[in-house]
């Protein structure tokens, strides 16, 4: 079979290349396979990561504006306005969560922005005491988007009662404002850092554990496996427990948007896989494409029925399963968890494609392992 021969050939080149003294980490364009990995890194940084952060930052500032107007004049209309801005920014967040690299990794940025389920008791306690440091990791589950979800949708049953919390007690307003300001200041740190980090990022194009290609590839797969597959589907559907845990869905308090956020996350993953330039209009599916995993795989494979086609088909399958779900994942899990599990299966099939087949094709080692065994 052609593919088999190809593998042997490829393995041969790879061994050759890795036997050469590797002193030029910083200016090597190649992995011994002829693909221009630097161009891929430039595409990732300049056309995807940095523009996505910039647009995300804009939406956070809009959320801040909306929250300020709600705080200064709590009403149903300002609450709805803040809720809409929260959802909008949360959707853009789905397009940056996977970039856990550089300063984002150092400061645990994603851990500051989107740990759920949020701890409503801890939030209540923080509000009560007024004594909290949102950057302290003790507050890992009382900050970020999930905490704002609770503050805007979960403080009470009705909107009127939620608003009354803010009217009667300014410490609620303070906490809400602190939440969004903390998210903005951390996001600004990341964006500022990319100004200088960008050149280092694109220069580390070799195939070593610390090169940008290897790290970003692992980050992408780790995100897809944990941030996307496990957090959004597996944990709530009960894959890792004896019972489903519907209260662990993303956006638990708003409830009817879990699916929308998951759709954005899947779209972000697909866009990154194909190398599509970030577009501020999240609904636009066409657009310019630069080198990324798809081009890299296509460069390495000559077969028609290749891995990137398989992965594209799997993306469609996952989208199609996801599209059948209820907007409200709590409702979905409580009424028809099998469909949730089938969506999980479609996503899990992709994890195998990424983690086993794609890593092997690219000759990249996995840098994290699951600690499961007997």
């Amino acid at each position: 079979m052609d593919m088999k021969n190809y593998y042997y050939l490829f393995a041969f080149f790879l061994v050759l290349s890795s036997c050469e003294p590797d002193e030029d980490d910083h200016n090597s364009d190649y992995n011994g396979d002829g693909f221009d990995r630097s161009e891929m890194l430039i595409n990732w940084a300049d056309n995807i990561i940095i523009p996505a952060y910039d647009e995300f930052n804009n939406t956070l500032n809009e959320l801040n504006t909306a929250i300020n107007s709600f705080i200064s004049n709590p009403s149903i209309s300002t609450l709805d306005f803040a809720s809409d801005a929260w959802l909008n920014s949360y959707k853009y967040w789905q397009h940056v969560e996977m970039f856990d690299i550089g300063l984002a990794e150092v400061i645990n940025y994603k851990g500051k922005m989107n740990i759920y389920p949020t701890d409503s008791y801890l939030i209540d306690q923080n509000i009560e005491s007024g004594n909290y440091d949102l950057d302290n990791n003790n507050n890992f589950d009382s900050r970020g988007f999930p905490a704002i979800d609770y503050m805007l949708h979960g403080l009470a049953e009705s909107k009127d009662d939620i608003i009354n919390n803010y009217i009667s007690d300014s410490s609620h307003s303070q906490y809400l404002s602190d939440l969004v300001n903390n998210m903005i200041s951390n996001t600004n740190l990341i964006i500022d850092d990319w100004d200088s980090y960008r050149d280092e990022f694109v220069s580390l194009s070799s195939n070593t554990a610390t090169s940008s290609v290897n790290k970003m590839t692992n980050d992408f797969i780790f995100y897809f496996e944990k941030g996307f597959r496990a957090n959004k589907f597996g944990i709530p559907a009960g894959i890792f427990s004896s019972e489903p845990l519907p209260n662990t869905v993303e956006a638990f308090y708003k409830k009817d948007v879990s699916k929308e956020l998951a759709i954005q996350a899947l779209k972000a993953s697909r866009n990154f896989f194909i190398g599509k330039f970030f577009n501020y209009d999240l609904e636009v599916s066409s657009g310019l494409v630069g080198p990324s995993f798809e081009a890299y795989i296509d460069y390495l494979y000559s077969d028609n029925d290749n891995l990137s086609d398989l992965i594209q088909t799997q993306f469609q399958e996952a989208e199609s399963k996801l599209s059948t779900l209820n907007n409200n994942f709590v409702y979905q899990i409580e009424n028809d968890n099998i469909s949730m599990l089938q969506t999980y299966d479609a996503i899990q099939a992709m994890v195998v494609s990424f983690k086993v087949d794609m890593l092997q094709a690219l000759g990249v080692s996995v840098d994290y392992v699951d600690a499961d065994g007997d």
Binding site: M1, M3, K4, Y7, A11, L14, V15, S18, C19, G234, A237, I239, S242, D305, L307, L310, N337, I338, L341, Q342, Y344, D345, Q348, A349, V351, V352, S353, K355, V356, D357, L359, Q360, A361, G363, S365, V366, D367, Y368, V369, G373, D374
Partner: protein, 384 residues
């Protein structure tokens, strides 16, 4: 697509281990396969002490048998008691201290469908709510209860003639044993991990590498059962096919003594040589042995599914009472469930076979033609 995946699995290890180590040379890439010699039995040592460990598998296999035995007792347990045993690994007569359970390793490999575990859990509900209340009253079409075969054997079945305990334990052949063994522990991606799993630096007597241990865990699912915890002397680790317990080892022995003579030694030898290959750092040889094991595990499952379904078809065609087929069909049903964990069938293909078996009044009206067509499907996929 499935073939593609397996093909690619074969080639994972060279890529992960291709760096030319200059510091310590654990993995010798130029060795000759002939130098790796398997020991006479599955025993491996480091500095004079055994490195073979699979106590977790032993525990899970014992628990699976305990649950199965209880399912055969009238009012053996409540649904929640069964679920506690299955998912938490507690609540048994024997006080297990291993901290393991069956549920966590049921359809739990990277390629298993997450919808399967619920199918097992739901069996407890059917058993307790539908079968237990009618344990000694006669079953009939749509009514659960007891059946008596023309040779006088009695079994308890649900309204469609399915014996729940058989579906459960035969289903676990694939969902736990084969899935954990061949779709998890013996895969290159599990064994190779992050590329450091076979690093022997600093290991003392009797200490093992992760890779050695993963292989042993795969081994343990086939050979790990013993009943020493309850004072017995059965131990499947004593040889290539002891046949004790209620899971795959039992059928390895049956096939070895029947339709597939020699299969037990082939599998046992592959386990020994693969483990020796890990010690020698020869991952091509290791993966070749894993493939031999997979091929034969898949064969066991498919052969038993074929045997039970074709056996029932013959009985139906003979004009014997329907009830004579129920026990075998129930075993067949479990082996069909198990087929999705082989390389022959997907989850949805298996579910449609299961639906076919349960259509209408289930075993009360399934035809010999239906069964023979499923047998043909399995034969053509498996080459048996």
């Amino acid at each position: 697509m499935k073939n593609f995946f397996y093909l690619s699995l074969l080639f994972v290890s060279p890529f992960i281990f291709n760096s030319c180590d200059t510091d310590d040379d654990d993995h010798d890439h130029d060795h000759d396969h002939d130098v790796v010699v398997a020991p006479a039995t599955y025993s491996f040592e480091r500095d004079g002490a055994s490195t073979v460990s699979f106590s977790g598998q032993t525990c899970r296999l014992q628990m699976a048998k305990d649950i199965y035995d209880l399912m055969n007792d009238a009012d053996g347990a409540t649904v929640s008691e069964f679920l506690t045993m299955f998912n938490e690994g507690t609540g048994f007569d024997f006080a297990y201290t291993c901290g393991k359970n069956v549920g966590g390793k049921t359809a739990a490999s990277p390629t298993a469908s997450s919808t399967v575990k619920t199918q097992f859990e739901d069996m407890f509900t059917v058993l307790v709510d539908e079968v237990y209340p009618n344990w000694t009253s006669s079953a009939s079409i749509g009514v659960s209860g007891q059946i008596t075969t023309s040779t006088g054997s009695t079994y308890q079945v649900d309204g469609k003639g399915l014996e729940i305990d058989q579906a459960f334990i035969k289903g676990l052949m694939g969902a736990m044993v084969v899935d954990q063994m061949t779709n998890n522990y013996l895969t290159p991606s599990k064994l190779d991990g992050d590329g450091t799993t076979n690093n022997t630096d600093g290991l003392g007597a009797g200490e093992y590498t992760d890779m050695e241990h993963y292989w042993d865990e795969g081994y343990g699912y086939l050979y790990g059962y013993n009943n020493e915890h309850v004072g017995g002397s059965d131990n499947n680790a004593n040889g290539p096919a002891e046949g004790h317990g209620v899971l795959v080892n039992k059928y390895l022995k049956k096939l070895d003594e029947g339709s597939h003579p020699g299969i037990a030694n082939v599998v046992y030898d592959a386990f020994k040589l693969g483990r020796a290959a890990i010690v020698a750092g020869d991952y091509d040889l290791r993966d070749a042995q894993a493939n031999i094991i997979r091929e034969h595990m898949d064969k066991i499952i498919a052969q038993k599914a074929i045997d039970y379904l074709s056996g029932a078809a013959i009985t139906i065609e003979s004009g014997a009472p329907r009830e004579d087929t129920f026990h075998g069909l129930s075993e067949g049903y479990g082996f069909v469930m198990s087929l999705q964990f082989t390389s022959y069938f997907s989850n949805s293909e298996v579910n449609s076979m299961l639906d076919q078996m349960m259509a209408g009044n289930g075993f009360w009206d399934i035809s010999a033609d239906d069964l023979n067509s499923m047998v043909g499907q399995i034969e053509s996929a498996s080459g048996l």
